[in-house]
Amino acid sequence: MYYIIALVALVFVVLTGIVIARLQNVLKSFKSADTDEIKHTGNRFNGAMFLVVLIVGGAAVLWSYLDARSEFLPVASSIHGRRTDDLFWFSMGVLTIPFIFVNVLIFFFSWKYQYKKGNTASFYPDNHKLELIWTIIPAIVMALLVFTGWRAWSDITGDAPQDAEVIEITGKQFNWITRYSGVNDNQLGNYDYRLIDAQNEVGIDLSDENSFDDFMGPASAIHIPVNKPVLLKIRARDVLHSVFIPHMRVKMDAVPGMPTKFWFVADKTTADMRAELNDPNFNYELACTEICGMGHFSMGTKIIVEDEASYRKWCAEQATFLATYPEYLAKVPDNLKAKAMKYVPEGSVTAAADSTTAGSVGSGTSSLR
């Protein structure tokens, strides 16, 4: 790439040289000329430049495109991702036609119809037929693009299938916290931001029995199963963040006070991708794409996509939130204590047994104080 820069720099230098050389002449002629008429200085030079820039520039765009192509869209590894990729390249293909057509016309006409003494421009103020043509053709092309885009969009943003694996992902300055719906009910427990503390990072509401089997994902990576719909329930704790998984073509903002969601099916495991890309160090990544403060550029995590059996096994190995922090048993209402006990390791129960004050905190809905 360095030699391109050198090449471009050379072109610029030569260009500058030519113009400065011309400038000398012009300045000389300026001094002598004192007519009311403004001379059309450099008209032929500028006309020629349009052709040169068209040809050299066109070649540069083409070459750079072909050269950079391999680095474009990272390999898609979700079902909807391949669909939007196809749509993207289809749209780009369609749009390349007017891009070339219009720019060639602009540059070519500028060169072709440059000022020549004695020439007269055509008085050609309008032509309704022409104008109608170039109103209708773009309208038809747009209609086509809208229709294909709209169908893809409705499918992608439609409701997630019932059996989707539900994972909650919460953004905060400057990392992501995941919560899994647990091995038993595939349902996330309620939450309330006022219950957040140093351990209970997402404000799990333990008065909701669905929360008992929930477990927090490790900070190192998010695990998801392959070939199974995954529904991300997206939240933010402090400011806006945005979940971006480049390989899965997933992006959705995380908004404090307004849970969002995105569902997708990843269909290549991390191992598959490592084999496909021939890169043993490959990892799926999740990045933040909504400016959130100083650490925005590094607010990411890894994603491990694995087959469902390993995923289940991994889930079973994770300690539930209650098992990790048995002291939160105190917040479980009495009538549900027995149920919650199942998720708490044997030895740690006594500590929380007789505290009965917990559970009075309201669940998910909030009210003004």
Binding site: M1, P98, M142, H247
Partner: protein, 626 residues
Amino acid sequence: MSAIVGAESIHEHAEVHEHHHSQNFWQKYIFSEDHKMIAKQYLITGIVWAVIGISMSVIFRIQLGMPDSNLSWLKPILGQWISDSGKLDPNFFLALVTMHGTIMVFFVLTAGLSGTFSNFLIPLQIGARDMASGFMNMLSYWFFFLASIIMFASIFLQTGPAAGGWVIYPPLSALPQSHPGSGMGMTLWLTSMAFFIVSQLLGGINYITTVINLRTRGMSFDRLPLTIWAFLITAVLGLISFPVLLSSVLLLIMDRHFGTSFYLSDIYINGEALPNVGGSPILFQHLFWFLGHPEVYIVLLPGLGITSEVIATNARKPIFGYRAMIASMLGIAFLAFIVWAHHMFVTGMNPFLGSVFMFLTLIIAVPSAVKGFNYITTLWRGNIVFTPGMLFSIGLVSLFVSGGLTGIILGNSALDIQLHDTYFVVAHFHLVMGAASAFGLFAGVYHWFPKMFGRMMNPTLGQLHFWMTFIGIYAIFIPMHYVGIAGFPRRYYQFTSYDFTHKFMDMNLFITSAAIFSFTAQFIFLWNFFYSIFKGKVAPQNPWKSNTLEWTTPIIPGHGNWEGEIPAVYRWSYDYSKPGAKEDFIPQNIPYSQTLESNFPHENELIASEKDIEAQNFNDQFKSAH
């Protein structure tokens, strides 16, 4: 300034003007109520801001393109923002990005472009002595100046200026504890923008009133130059949308300082759960983009208007499809208000709304395409004179089309999922609204410089400036699309944290080199501009042989623009190269009765109405009681 002072004072002695009263320095150059001086004030302020804004972009481009470089040499300017090891502070990087956006969009391309040319051209091209209210016009500039001072001061704060992106989405912008830039810097940003909006409204009301009420005899709406149409539509857009920004800014101020919860809900930050519930950050985004999207056209339409005028003049051809041009501008202006949520496809907004806004957004391509094709047809079989203004206008059309096309990708909500907030977006809007509008500004300055300062800019330097800028802009933004397609998110301090951004190092370096190259080219313009004000060749009466009314005023128009009567208008402003005419242009103030050799049959019929036009009220604001 001595040259202008000299030239104008000579002129004033010769001036026979019923309203003449001598003005002191303050009245004439500082608290001026003359639209031409206010236009120059806007222009100079805009240029100063542009230098600051573009310099900022060069600094963060160096950070992005050469992440390992030692920036200690910037320490004398940036001080504590450069660490001892020569690294740019990540917080200040965000501040730079934010201020670059704010400055370029609002202070340069809104105030600098509209403020300059609406003020300068509206009275001159419609045949009016001045703006409808000179005093309001002066207030407009001074509110802008006040906004400028506040924004400028914020750059020097210990905690830095606002740093939440130019869109200042809350809660980041609402919570001082979330970011240093959300403290005093954001307070000043909001204050400054409130004054800025006041300035825009004062200006906009004035532009609209002037165009509607003060057109000279015979200047019907279908004879207005397209520049005026563009300024009128721009002013209407601003008048409708800026108050919405003001309200969203005020609500944000309430949230920041008075404990309200318009945009805040369920927030836990720095170990503390905030009491705010029930607000919505998305509400701010809706309000912001209700201005923000029309703002794109507020920035762009004046550029398109200027281009229409400059291309027709220098192609020596009537603009193709005059009425279609007006219709497409009206269409764009209308659609501009109903597409805002295409900036919000992945914010969690209801997906059904996404479909609606995708549909509406892609419709905008149609009037835009009409404009593009009309410009090209205007070039076709012309006799093109490559004045610097013309070069920049042709460049604008190319940038407008190239940048607009990628908008069709982004307007498609399904494709926007991947591309949203990546460099693809940055590349897109810089081409279509940033660079294109800046080219409109340059075209306008080169074209109307003789009218502003009575002198010519050096055309060869102008041409050099054009080619370097034009090539530089494409060299920056075409590769930036590639970076965007690869998924590089915007507003990243560096790309070292992720594997998927571990590529295109050389591409980013190339973009940075091209940015520095383009930046350097602007000094040619600056030198040419300021040198020519004092030492340029004295301008002839009508240097570009143009049809519009401003070239019928004295070379340096005095207060009131025309000596004696304001000329009447008998024809549209695009009678270039009319078959049979003696010269290749017929100014608007030449009646058909004097051009029998070139009249079309329907124009001969209009000769009868010339008497009526002449008999009309002079519409001379200086003569009527005021």
